[in-house]
Subunit: 195 residues, 2 copies
């Protein structure tokens, strides 16, 4: 039941924003009442943190599932990137949730720490993919850590740009962006660098 409440909290938070969701609504969505919420969590903040953990786990699970069926290192990297970009471009609920968590992180050190660890794990995830691709000789990269950091920064920026320029949320743009990210990683530049 705690997991179910965390799930409901995440869903409602993602849909309407954390500040606009009361504990009554979360409880109602989970089929219980506020009394039950306060039995399992001692405050709204605790519930928010539980929703974050739910989000972290889900993200990792889906990301691993995305690259699982592919063996080729470069294709795995590209698949992961494509999924990240697609979420940034299209998943509006993801935007709502992450934005609110970022705002919260500014004032709640615990939330900030949790999200920071999540980012670390994402970085490690991509570092693994990049190094695998580099080992297989499919790409060459001078400073992997720095390149991955720069790429991750760009991904977050894309999420923001998608908010204010919905017109970039097309499959064509998606491919373009993925290509740009691969270029940051030192890969690609297939024809543009011809001159």
């Amino acid at each position: 039941m705690p997991a179910r409440l965390a799930q409901s909290a995440f869903t409602m938070f993602s849909r309407h924003g954390i500040a606009n969701v009361s504990l009554d609504q979360v409880a109602s969505h989970a089929g219980v009442t506020k009394g039950s919420v306060y039995w399992h969590f001692k405050s709204k903040d605790e519930l928010i943190k539980a929703a974050c953990v739910h989000y972290y786990r889900n993200t990792h699970r889906q990301m691993n599932a995305e690259i699982a069926p592919v063996r080729d290192p470069l294709k795995r990297l590209e698949r992961a990137l494509r999924r990240s970009v697609r979420i940034c471009l299209l998943d509006e609920e993801n935007r709502v949730f992450t934005m609110d968590i970022w705002s919260l992180s500014l004032r709640d050190p615990e939330v900030r720490r949790g999200w920071g660890q999540f980012y670390d794990s994402v970085r490690e995830f991509y570092m693994g993919l990049v190094q695998a691709a580099a080992l297989s000789g499919q790409m060459k990269i001078d400073d992997p850590e720095r390149a991955v950091n720069l790429m991750l920064e760009a991904i977050e920026g894309i999420k923001l740009r998608a908010m204010f320029e919905p017109q970039i949320c097309s499959p064509r743009e998606e491919s373009e962006i993925v290509k740009s990210l691969l270029e940051i990683l030192g890969c690609g530049k297939p024809a543009a660098r011809a001159a």
Copy 2:
């Protein structure tokens, strides 16, 4: 007085977050009371939008002042980048305000539109700098628009990374980041691209 209220609103919002600041506090900071606020603005949302406009204007003013004393195109670009990066790394109040505005943008189309126009102007600003540098032959760039977009995305990402990894907020990292951004723009790669 409306300008003064907008200024006070921006200051308070930046310090404590929009949701945590009541109109009484804003009025008190400006030396008046809520009655005056509701005389000049018909709601808190209006005041928030006024604070945004204040922020846009200030940013443009300071940015232009930053590059004004320099003539060399490439140095102007680098100076602008350095300032943008520094704000992302160090200006915590800027983070608070922008985060809250981003969250608001998700639900208020008017706020979103305003911020989108602001971003457009920033892009134009950097496009001008990049094209000037390109015309002077100091850098060569295939697709300026695309490169500038990618760079701006990375800048926003840096603001986020600085939240969760305060250790990157050093002058040394600042220079590194500026160098990375210049590389995105097609400039630099001083020795790394030797191979």
